[in-house]
Amino acid sequence: MPVVLETVGLEKHFGGIAAVAGVSLKIEKGARHALIGPNGAGKTTVINLLTGVLRPSAGRILLEGQDITALEACKRVQRGLARTFQINQLFLDLTPLETIGLAIAERLGAGAHWWRLIGTNPQVVEEIVEILARFHLTDVMYERTGNLPYGKQRLLEIALAIACRPHVLLLDEPAAGVPEDERHEILATVAALPGDVTVLLIEHDMDIVFSFADRISVLVNGALFVDGAPEEVARDPRVKAVYLGESLDA
Amino acid sequence: MLTILFDGIAYGMLLFVLACGLSVTLGLMNFVNLAHGSFAMAGGYITLVLVNRAGLPFFAGLPIAFVATALIGALFERTLYVHVYSRSHLDQVLFTIGLVFMSVAAVDYVMGSQQVFIQIPSVLQGRFEIFGVGVGRYRLLIIVICGLLTVALQLILSSTRFGSRLRASVDDPRVARGLGINVNAVFSLTFAVGSGLAGLGGALGAEILGLDPTFPLKYMVYFLIVVTVGGTSSITGPFAASLLIGIADVAGKYYVPKFGAFVIYTIMIIVLILRPQGLFARAAGK
């Protein structure tokens, strides 16, 4: 399988502290790759570096073979790299309908059209309706996002990334904060993502990780600790030590 | 040439005393206080009344201006400003502009709209020459007083308990709270002292800057320039920025009078374009 996303010696320092220290990661096309590690290991920093929210102190990022290290965040999205956020980052004053429409218009290069009215392109409307239905948002599509229950907002968070039609999707703890009885709805939509979309998942919940991932990388103190198939990682005594140590500390 | 440098330094020192309170409130609470100049004006007019009307000696007027303005600052902080800390920057801007307007009109009503001067003792008038450099006595006094204040502030910040609490609070208010520092109390005290210093600066500066009801509007821009150019992470930043602005403004007005205040606005915009966080901000991590 070809590698779609790769980092080479990625580093990020905050002041004197290295949050990410020389991470070289390869993610294969169509993979369900999980990035795990104890709190403060630098997982979210890696995502922020990959998406261009932060600039790396050193190292390179390659998307489908091309160097995107210096590319602005919005340009990376146009190249097919989308993400969700651990804490919802939504447009609270817009409706889900507008939110999804926005992403689709942007992808089609119509986002800066200032004369055409919204909703006049039937293809866009069709796609909006399709995505909203897929993420169980049809019944709330006219409501203000800020007024939606948390579970629905979480679904919209993922739907919005999907509306960008990414080749590579970065999911930052998709089920974080969602009550137990609503989790399955979110996990089901994650599991149903099209096979050609490559997914990098950050997750704390080991049940989710082992039921979803076909490859796991463990990040500890900003460095890659173990990288392999789920069974290997599960057996690795060092991983057990890290997690056991953490739970003893807690 | 050296005279201009001297005048510029005096001017810059004055700006620093006027603006350092604003810099700390901005850094500490991320609060945009456009009404800072109103406190400076209050100090100026208080001294004016004490010295010109009540016949108090000039040097007695200055400390009273400091204390009185600090008290006014504390009063406003506790009664009005506390309600606006958690609001958006737009609200803060509107609120403090409102205060500026009110103070301008109120002072106009009470004191009249004409420009006024505080009577300074004759010892301080005139100039003398050292090694061919013309030194204004009054400006020398400003440099001495402001220089002492700066050193005192630096000492307080670097080696007292309050100073370290203040620095911790500016660094990261949330962490400071976690360490058991009462950030609100630190802030109130700082706000009062900052206002007091502005009042003192207003009293000292009346001779050079002129004093009339539009003072807060006229000099607000200068204070803001000092703060944005200097950054808010320390007091050395605003200090250096004050000197830079002071010297540039005096030199600009002397050498290219046609361009007036043009010089410092241009400096500000260039600095902000190159270093949006300020000239002396710590390495941009955020």
């Binding site: 986002g111 919204i118 309706v129 509306a163 | 737009l90 502009i97 409102g98 307007f101 915009i269």
Partner: protein, 320 residues
């Protein structure tokens, strides 16, 4: 795929941009004022250009969330600087505030330094204005200038309305709501901000030209900080982000200013300041609710007067 649903959604989307009864009522009232209030045309003219200025500010404050203190000055330079700033990394609110203010001050200095053209601090008097289309001469009662300003305001309002309901307008609201997420779905945040800044600059420029034409007088006062602050107040009274805020705010502000100036000619600034302070202490949201309530009432009234009109969805981006 449920094509009925697709059609329904398309219909709902198309209806967003439809004119609401309240809007018809507003512009009919404006039109009526041309004929019914001939004695008030001078102040109405001032209201009209103030409204245009406020509309311009609303475009950047209400739709893109940028605080500007340099608004009265021309944005042309401002947009250039904003572009430079954008290229060199993000600035904070305060940075932007200072840049807009700095640009305004520089423009004022320039105008002050070329008295041959601008008249310096005294302003330019006796600007000779050609009759509109060579036919309509400006008269001292302001009849022609009011009609002229109103037409310009209406045309530019229509344009702004169109832009606001376009994908571009929607993306601005997204940028204002959450710039981080906006860039994470591929929106080039800085390019959009520069675009709307330039667009709003054009409006401010037209408003300034209107002012000069109708009063035959131009002065440095338009560059002043107080003018920009007044403008903010206009917008806050009317509410931001629904286009009518600037227009309604201009009406209320001018009438209020006129009234206060009659009571205390010298110290009206004090009361303006007091209004600002009170608005913030009470909370802009609640003030917005108040104007929103008035609007809802107006809509209900007009709907009763015009039976059969479509039910009115709440306009997007209410309040602040």
């Amino acid at each position: 795929m449920a094509s009925a649903l697709v059609a329904e959604v398309a219909r709902r989307l198309a209806r967003r941009a439809r004119w609401r009864p309240f809007e018809y009522a507003f512009w009919l009232a404006a039109l009526a004022s041309v004929f019914l209030l001939p004695g008030r045309h001078l102040i109405l003219t001032e209201i009209a250009w103030l409204a245009l200025f406020a509309l311009s500010l609303d475009l950047i404050l209400g739709y893109a969330g940028i605080i500007s203190l340099g608004h009265a000055a021309f944005f042309g330079l401002g947009s250039y600087v904003a572009a430079l700033l954008a290229k060199h990394g993000r600035g904070s609110d305060l940075t932007r505030l200072m840049v807009t203010l700095g640009v305004a001050l520089i423009m004022r200095e320039i105008a002050n330094q070329i008295p041959d053209i601008t008249g310096g601090a005294d302003g330019l008097q006796g600007v000779v204005v050609a009759p509109i289309l060579g036919v309509f001469h400006f008269d001292i009662f302001g009849h022609v200038s009011y009609a002229y300003c109103l037409i310009v305001l209406f045309v530019l309002f229509l344009l702004a309305r169109r832009v606001v309901y376009s994908p571009f307008g929607l993306s601005l609201r997204a940028v204002k709501g959450n710039a981080l997420r906006a860039s994470s779905i591929g929106i080039s945040v800085n390019a959009r901000l520069v675009a709307i800044y330039t667009f709003a600059a054009f409006y401010a420029g037209v408003a300034g030209a209107l002012l000069a034409q109708t009063t035959a007088f131009a002065s440095l006062d338009v560059f002043s900080f107080e003018r920009s602050a007044d403008l903010l107040l206009v917008l806050i009274i009317g509410g931001t982000g629904y286009l009518y805020g600037g227009l309604i705010g201009a009406v209320i502000f001018k009438l209020m200013q006129d009234w206060i100036a009659n009571l205390t000619p010298q110290y009206w600034q004090f009361w303006i300041g007091l209004v600002l302070v009170l608005i913030v202490l009470v909370g802009r949201d609640r003030v917005g609710l108040w104007t929103g309530g008035v609007r809802a009432l107006a809509e209900r009234l007009t709907r009763r007067l015009a039976p059969g009109a479509a039910p009115v969805p709440v306009p997007p981006g209410e309040g602040h």
